[in-house]
C-alpha cells in the first residue's frame, strides 16, 4: 500500500511547509514594498496546489490551514492575533481547503491512471517475453523431435530401401538429436534455477588445470578431428569456485566452439593470472563473430548465423554461472582469426 506510506512519511509535510514559508516571505516582501495585495491569498495556492498534486490530501490540507492561519497571524490587522472568526477570513479558509481537496483528488486520479497504465504495460511486456521464451523453447524442443520422428518412422517404413550407410546416418541422427534434447533439458533446468536465484555456487579452492583437462577428456568424442591445445601455466593459483558450475561453463564454451566452427578447426584453452583473478579463454580458429552480434549471443535462445543445432541457452547459462561467482564472461576477437570467449574468476 504505497499510498499509506506516502501519508505517514513526514518528508512531504516538511517540504510543503518550507514552500509555504517561502510564500510568507514573498508576501511579506511585497507588502513591505508597499504594494497592496488584497489577493495575496492567491499566492498561497502555489504551495497548496504543489502539495496536493504531488503528495495528496494530507499535506495539501495542512498547507491550506497553515497558510491561512499564518497569513492571519502575520499580515492581517491586528497582527499577532487570529481573526478566523471574521467572515472574510473564514471564507478564505474554506476556499483554500476546497482548492486543496479538489486538486488532491484530481492529481490522485491522474496518478492512479498512470499507475494502472504502467502496471498494464509491465504485464504486457512480461507476457510478451514469456510468450517469446515459450515459443523458443517449443521450437527448440520440436526441431529435434521432428527429425527423430522423421528418421524413426522412415526406418520403420515398409518398402523403403536403405543402404547400410543410410541406416547408419539415420541412427546417428537419432542419437545426436536425443543428446541435444538431453542438453536442452539440462540447460533449461539450470536456466530456471539461475533465474530463481537458486544456484548459489558452493565454492571451494579448485585446480583449474585439472578441471579443464577433465572436461576436454569428457568431450573428446565431440571434439574429434580438431587440434585441442591446452595452454595453462603450472603455477596457476587455485580459484574459489563451484566445481560443477565451472565444469558446465567450460563444457558449454567448448561445445559452442565445436558447434559453430567447421570440423577440423583448432581450439585453444588458455589460462593466466591477472592481479587477484584468474582469466580463462576458449579460442577457436573459426570465422569469428562480428562485434555487433556479440552481446546478442548471450541472450537466451539467440542463435548465431551458423544456425547450428545448439540449445540457444549454453552461453546464457555459462555467463549466469560465471557472474554468480563474481566473475565476468565476454567475447572478443582472437589474435589472428576466430572468436575468443574469456571469463574471469576471483583467485582463492
Amino acid at each position: 500500500m504505497p499510498r499509506i506510506l506516502v501519508k505517514t512519511s513526514f518528508g512531504p509535510y516538511v517540504v510543503a511547509l518550507l514552500a509555504l514559508l517561502a510564500t510568507f516571505i514573498v508576501v511579506g516582501m511585497l507588502e513591505s514594498t508597499g504594494i497592496d495585495l488584497p489577493s495575496a491569498i492567491l499566492l498561497y495556492l502555489v504551495p497548496i496546489v504543489l502539495a496536493a498534486s504531488r503528495w495528496g490530501r494530507g499535506p495539501a490540507i495542512v498547507t491550506a490551514v497553515v497558510s491561512l492561519l499564518g497569513h492571519d497571524l502575520l499580515f492581517v490587522e491586528p497582527r499577532g492575533t487570529f481573526n478566523v472568526a471574521r467572515a472574510d477570513e473564514a471564507l478564505g479558509l474554506v476556499l483554500l481547503l476546497f482548492t486543496a481537496l479538489l486538486t488532491a483528488q484530481l492529481a490522485d486520479g491522474a496518478r492512479r491512471g498512470a499507475e494502472t497504465a504502467r502496471d498494464a504495460a509491465i504485464v504486457r511486456r512480461s507476457d510478451a517475453l514469456k510468450t517469446a521464451i515459450l515459443r523458443a523453447v517449443t521450437h527448440n524442443l520440436r526441431t529435434p523431435l521432428a527429425s527423430i520422428k522423421a528418421s524413426v518412422s522412415g526406418l520403420r517404413q515398409p518398402g523403403a530401401t536403405y543402404s547400410e550407410a543410410d541406416r547408419a546416418d539415420l541412427l546417428a541422427e537419432i542419437e545426436e538429436e536425443v543428446d541435444r534434447l538431453d542438453r536442452l533439458v539440462t540447460n533449461l533446468l539450470d536456466a530456471s534455477r539461475l533465474e530463481a536465484g537458486g544456484l548459489r555456487p558452493s565454492t571451494h579452492p579448485q585446480d583449474l588445470r585439472e578441471l579443464i583437462a577433465a572436461v576436454v577428456d569428457r568431450l573428446a568424442p565431440r571434439l574429434a578431428g580438431r587440434a585441442v591445445r591446452v595452454d595453462i601455466p603450472e603455477d596457476l593459483p587455485p580459484v574459489a569456485c563451484d566445481y560443477a558450475q565451472i565444469d558446465q561453463v567450460v563444457t558449454n564454451l567448448l561445445e559452442n566452439a565445436a558447434l559453430h566452427t567447421p570440423v577440423g578447426t583448432p581450439i585453444t584453452l588458455q589460462a593466466s593470472t591477472q592481479r587477484d583473478a584468474v582469466r580463462v579463454a576458449v579460442v577457436d580458429g573459426g570465422p569469428g563473430i562480428p562485434e555487433v552480434e556479440r552481446e546478442r549471443l548471450f541472450r537466451a535462445f539467440e542463435r548465431g548465423q551458423t544456425r547450428a543445432p545448439g540449445t540457444g541457452l549454453g552461453l546464457t547459462i555459462a555467463r549466469g554461472f560465471v557472474e554468480a561467482h563474481g566473475g565476468r564472461l565476454w567475447l572478443e576477437d582472437a589474435p589472428e582469426r576466430g572468436a575468443r570467449f574469456v571469463f574471469t574468476l576471483p583467485a582463492a
Binding site: R135, T138, H139, R142, T143, P144, L145, A146, S147, I148, K149, A150, S151, S153, G154, Q157, G159, A160, T161, Y162, D166, D169, L170, E173, E176, E177, R307, A308, P309
Partner: protein, 231 residues
Amino acid sequence: MSGERVLVVDDEPQIRRALRVVLRASGYAVTEVGSGEAALDAAATEPFDLMILDLMLPDVEGVEVCRRLREWSRLPVIVLSAHDEEDIKVRALDEGADDYVSKPFSAPELLARMRSAVRRSSFDSAPAEPVVRAADGEVEIDLARRVVMRAGEEVHLTPTEYDLLRFMASQAGRVITHGHLLRTVFGDGYVDANAVLRVHVASLRKKIEPDPGRPRIILTEPGVGYRLRVD
C-alpha cells in the same frame, strides 16, 4: 521407384538430413536448401516435381516464398508447419501452397501427401474429369450435367450447396482454406463468414454423406478449411 525431383527447404540441417535420407530411400531425387532465397533460385533454375517448404526460414518467410513462387510457377508445395503456426499455415495455403504436414510428422504421412500432390499436379494439366466419385462410388458428382447422385438416386442441392460442392470437387484431394472457399463461392464480402460456411457444409453433409456425423467425403481440416476426399 518414382525418381521424382524434390526440393527440400528447411533451415534446420538435421531435418534436411533426415528428409534427404528418408526421401531418397523412397526413390526421390532430393535437392536441399536452407533459405527462402535459395529455394526460389533453385526452383527457377532447375526442374522439380515438388517442393517441401518449412514455414520458419531465416531470410524470407515461407509464406512469402509461396507467394513469389506462384507468380511464375505451379510447382506443388507442401508446407511443414508447427502446431502453433495455424495462422501462418493458413496464409501459406491461401498464397498457393498445396498442402501441409504438421511437425513432428511421420515419414509415411509425408510420403502419402507427396504422392497425392504430385498426382494432382499431373491431373491439373489434363482436362478436368467430368464425374467425380467419392465414398467408394456411393456418391457421384457429375460436373458436366450438374447432377449429384447418391446410391443411384439424385440428390437435390440448393444452388449454394452445389457451388460449394463443385468448387471442392474441382480441387478434390486438396486442402481448401475457409477464406478461399468463401471468396470463391460467396464473394469477397464474406471472407470472414466462417459461420455461414459451416451451416452450408453441414447441410451439404446431411445430403451426401453416408454418416453426416462422421464425414468421409467433406473432411474438416481443423482451423484451416475443408478437403474433399475422392476415390
